[in-house]
Subunit: 209 residues, 2 copies
Amino acid sequence: MNVTPIRKQNKRRENELLILQAAEKVFAEAGFGGATMQLIADVADLPKANVHYYFSTKEALYRQVVSNIFDIWLKAAESFENASGPAEGIGAYIDAKMEISRTHPAGSKVWASEVMHGAPIIQDYLETALADWTSGRISVINQWIERGLMDPISPRHLLYLIWSSTQHYADFGHQIQTLNNGTSLTDDDWQVAKTAVKQIILKGIGVMP
Amino acid sequence: MNVTPIRKQNKRRENELLILQAAEKVFAEAGFGGATMQLIADVADLPKANVHYYFSTKEALYRQVVSNIFDIWLKAAESFENASGPAEGIGAYIDAKMEISRTHPAGSKVWASEVMHGAPIIQDYLETALADWTSGRISVINQWIERGLMDPISPRHLLYLIWSSTQHYADFGHQIQTLNNGTSLTDDDWQVAKTAVKQIILKGIGVMP
DNA sequence: CCAAATCTTGACCGTATGGTCAAGACTATG
DNA sequence: CATAGTCTTGACCATACGGTCAAGATTTGG
């Protein structure tokens, strides 16, 4: 008599997704140490024991959350690819990262929290996937510099500045909102933010008049 | 027979300082939820009960730590004052903030963690001291823009970009170190970082050729 | 319709945590 | 050196946490 009968095969996937979404939210708000399995279960509207059925330990659940976030970021980083030059590539990358900060702030916070506390769980991600991606991008930027398409800026520190300035809008969203008279940023506010960040960085590296 | 007899009057101050330093370190590494009074006591090399003698609750201790950090930042922000123009004022401010990230990374992490989790403890700081300071600085920047000393950038978002890019070297120091072959930044590395950040931002707002 | 597999859940357990307390040690001062 | 004030500390407590478990409900496939 169920209106929307749930296939058993989908059940696992659906419940895992439900739990992961709740966990991301709770981990972002309370940090790993401050988050409780009970609260995650409450947010997911499931008994705690049921959460443990799908994710054996708190750490396993947390690791899955962080892993998902990292995948999203790697996908966004593709904007860097196939770019003809820095104005296009870096501009698109900033746009993509700003969009993630807007639509996925909880994930950004979880990542920031994890790294800030020494990346005890996902150190291997930093050393492999992130390190590889970074050195690849540094090569691309160095080629742009050699071709005279932008100023000779340290690519490494340029990347850090892009990461920090875009993720700031997610990680420090609460502070930004407080300084915005306690109200969320509007569409226009986000547009202004995006424009300001892009203008400063692009002009700062010499690809905008 | 004590070689360095401790005056009773100084005892309180010294022990409080000892505990505050230990607490800042532990809160930075583990977050508020992950930190334990026992670990703070161990780092301070005192019995846990003794820590509770000086700071009645974990939250009181935490609040004091965050308060101290905020004072340091406000002091650094004075570099903004008495500046004749944006090149000098913003340049000095970036220098000061980079120096804090280098010498006081734990404090920066505690602040970031607190804000990221919605500033449950120090919301009043955001609404009063920080909001006041920010609106004051926005006025100064707007005057610079009106006088044609820099490009017409949204002052608010310029401040966010300065905060994020400088604090990133403290908050994400572990990630930066991992991407630096696992070794700490050298004096030269810090010089390069400072130069890169300043060049991009100053040129980006039109105060550098 | 049956049996195997999967999912659900309340009750439970050991541990670790923030915080308390009272007895004692130390220090300043008259 | 006596006494009041301050500091130190091991032992202790209630609570909350991550995780377990076994009994039952539900679904799947033959």
